[in-house]
């Protein structure tokens, strides 16, 4: 055992120090925030590399598979998939009915099912009803339709507040809902995954399905925002 080796205990106490640093960062001390950030990044960088290296030598994982998994989650999966379903639901009333009544069957027909996205439910936003999706216990999210979740969705604040104060959360996110709008919050506690169908924005009459899909944002499919009207577009 060399003196330069770091014991497991040191590892854990270092992560604890790093965690304390994150708290210091949140308190607004800029210098310690920057130091903590650098410390956190370098610490986990060392640990992640060590883990992959040891597991590879032990023949437990294939490093090429690790790269392929990351590439798949970063590049193949993503909100562009959910956006296609939303756009089609806007132009095809029959498809919209099927999506709302049995999203699971629709996803299976289109070969869009997968880990964290097979038992799907689609909920529709209207002028009267606004849906918002959260996972208070964890970070459950429809990977097969939206990819990996954004940081804000996994944040403790969003998870804590979305169920007790959805209107306040939406207000801070830039969406003020009228008092007579009904808010439905969906907490993904089991293996059901939700897709919010946002309202079709004004000014999009006559647009093709592809053009419409390009307007659909990730956050609108979680219920965190409404889609903005298209300036200069056609509205009946």
């Amino acid at each position: 055992m060399g003196d330069d080796k770091v014991s497991r205990r040191d590892f854990l106490s270092r992560s604890s120090v790093a965690a304390t640093g994150v708290v210091a960062a949140a308190s607004g001390d800029v210098t310690s925030a920057q130091e903590a950030e650098i410390y956190v990044q370098s610490d986990f960088s060392v640990r992640a590399k060590a883990l992959v290296s040891v597991l590879t030598k032990k023949n437990l994982i294939d490093p090429a598979a690790v790269d392929a998994i990351v590439d798949h989650f970063e590049n193949d999966l993503g909100p562009h998939i959910g956006a296609r379903l939303v756009a089609r639901s806007w132009v095809d009333p029959e498809f919209r009915e099927r999506l709302i009544s049995d999203a699971r069957a629709v996803a299976r027909d289109l070969d869009l099912t997968g880990m964290q996205g097979t038992d799907l439910v689609a909920v529709e936003n209207t002028p009267e009803v606004h849906n918002l999706v959260v996972c208070t216990l964890c970070s459950c999210y429809p990977w097969s339709l939206l990819g990996l979740p954004p940081t804000w969705y996994k944040d403790t604040a969003y998870r804590a507040r979305a169920v007790i104060d959805p209107r306040g959360v939406l207000r801070e996110f830039g969406l003020e809902l009228a008092d007579d709008v009904e808010v439905r919050v969906w907490d993904s506690t089991a293996e059901i995954r939700y897709l919010v169908i946002p309202e079709r924005p004004a000014g999009t009459d006559g647009m093709s399905e592809d053009e419409l899909a390009a307007l659909v944002t990730r956050d609108s499919m979680i219920g965190a925002e409404k889609l903005a009207a298209v300036r200069g577009g056609n509205t009946q």
Binding site: Q41, K57, T136, V185
Partner: protein, 219 residues
């Protein structure tokens, strides 16, 4: 487990900006996520959530998201004896080979991605009849299990209404030793915001939670 991970309804947290960048920002996040997914295909490495939930609360709240996965994976590998502390501390040093079943080979990218994209439902096809119907009034049981549970604290003891029947799903709670419960009917139960949060709830709002039959009683 009444852990700090069960965050619904807590005050005092500051909402972040809605980030619009890459979902895996740092290289260590990519490595941690890739290794984590690959490890789901190694025997004994399935249950992640209870591992993350058992992090010390102050670490759970402060650590970056993917660091929790990384630390949980390290701990599972250590607990199973698949890696040692010395090996993790000195990855360039010698390593022992883990006790894998005969003929085990690490799954290839193709095998893993085929599973990631497969139709992996938790639904089980059986003809067990559901105890509740749409529109039924139900109460979430006031239970505080020590193990992993999918019934958040904020609904326990509260009255709601069944709004969806999802069929029979694998039960995900960790049960006390000796108690065996198979797949259960899964329901979406709607709770009025004021039933859960009193005057802080908006009279028009509802919170929908997925609960298994085991979690529900007739009021």
């Amino acid at each position: 487990m009444n852990g700090v991970h069960d965050l619904g309804g807590m005050d005092g947290f500051t909402l972040p900006e809605r980030d619009q960048g890459r979902v895996l920002e740092e290289e260590w996040e990519r490595l941690s996520w890739g290794a984590n997914v690959a490890l789901f295909f190694v025997p004994g490495m399935g249950r992640m959530r209870s591992q993350i939930e058992s992090l010390p609360p102050e670490q759970y709240l402060a650590l970056p998201y993917y660091a929790k996965w990384l630390i949980a994976r390290e701990q599972m590998l250590l607990d199973l004896g698949f890696v040692s502390e010395d090996e993790l501390a000195d990855p360039d040093g010698p390593v022992g080979m883990p006790p894998m079943p005969e003929g085990f080979a690490p799954p290839t990218a193709e095998q893993i991605l085929a599973t990631v994209d497969r139709d992996v439902s938790e639904r089980v096809e059986t003809d067990v009849r559901p105890r509740f119907s749409i529109g039924d009034a139900v109460t979430a049981r006031n239970e505080h299990p020590r193990g992993h549970t999918r019934m958040p604290r904020y609904v326990r003891g509260h009255a709601g209404t069944v709004v969806t029947l999802h069929g029979v799903h694998n039960f995900q709670d960790e049960l006390p030793e000796g108690l065996e419960i198979g797949p259960q009917h899964l329901y979406t139960v709607a709770f009025d915001a004021q039933e859960l949060w009193g005057a802080r709830g908006h009279p028009k709002d509802t919170i929908h939670v997925e609960l298994w039959e085991y979690h529900l009683d007739t009021p």
